[in-house]
Symmetry: C2
Amino acid sequence: MQLFYTPDIAPHLKSFVLSEEESRHAVRVLRMEAGQQVQLVDGRGGLYTAVIVDAHPKRSVLEILRVETRYGTRPYYLHVAIAPTKQIERIEWFLEKATEVGIDEITPIICERSERKEVKVERLNKIMAAAMKQSLKAYIPRMNEPLGFGSFLDQRTEGQRFIAHCGDGDKQYLSEIIEPAGRYTVLVGPEGDFSGAEVDAAQRAGFFPVTFGASRLRTETAALVACLEAAIRNRRY
Amino acid sequence: MQLFYTPDIAPHLKSFVLSEEESRHAVRVLRMEAGQQVQLVDGRGGLYTAVIVDAHPKRSVLEILRVETRYGTRPYYLHVAIAPTKQIERIEWFLEKATEVGIDEITPIICERSERKEVKVERLNKIMAAAMKQSLKAYIPRMNEPLGFGSFLDQRTEGQRFIAHCGDGDKQYLSEIIEPAGRYTVLVGPEGDFSGAEVDAAQRAGFFPVTFGASRLRTETAALVACLEAAIRNRRY
């Protein structure tokens, strides 16, 4: 069934009018007609089943048949703070994959060795919305505005905190130290890794060093591995 | 230190001449000079430390100082048979990521619902070679020529065999049923999944159904998750 992302819909509504863009897509591109059923997600856990009552190319009217709230809720909350990669495509695919496997919040962090100092949050949100629809999810991850590494550490982050880096020192595997059904924040550095000073500052701020194994992983790969370890650890919960 | 992929080198050699392409890269692009040290990998586990004795733009001569064989050997062997994706870029990034996290052998399989029926193995090998260098590995995964799904099942595959599909039926999590330090073959289907007949045929051939969780994953994401579950399960071995 066709799935639309309609952030403006709410569980109490009995009917809904698709935006001009979605209406055009539904009627002109997909050739949908009155009587056909569609699914809508609001990005906040709401999955709606609706039927087209007026297939208007600019404002198609839907009657909502069923609403499922908290659809596909996961038992944990994962926040990844990641240094944007030099090639933005690498962060973009990370966001697509992370949305598929499960992530709740992303903060781009600008680090000492970051070559890229800015990201277009709007574009990144579009990529996550597409991934949300493709993987049949009702939640869209929260994308924060970029922050300097120090400013991020100054923020209050709840739950278990970790920093993934390639430097020396004792480290544990993320999947072995996270508590199931918890809240996790994981810091992932830029190409060239965090500086020693950044690692020290993070540890003073209560972030525990973690490793993803012997392989040297790219920034975006390490971040995805963090998402997968959290998902695997929480499977039985 | 600069790393080169030189499949023609062998552990018994005392010196080695870089190819014209690598020589040009080293001398013209990287401006390397005699006396500088470089690292070489042969794609078969050999990691060589060498020093440039003649920085020639077409045939740079290296003296080999040290050889480490079986560098970064993993305790398990993972073979992923995957249906090439409609957009070849998706398989390409899977190969890059899989090389980073660990994979030994890949066979493109053409399935009932495959929209893409062919791949350029040469190009895929180039992508894995680049990923091998980037992630400091000495082994390059083996890429087989594409096979029809049935022909692949007819081949003798050693170790534990699994098929990942989204259909109904009892399934286990890969990381919970693979034996550490083993040999694994995992089948991953095309967009639209394996057909019921293909799943039945695979199970008759001794492939056990596995799931990667509740999320509907893209072909290339599911294949990468398989690599990660194998890596995580084998971390302590």
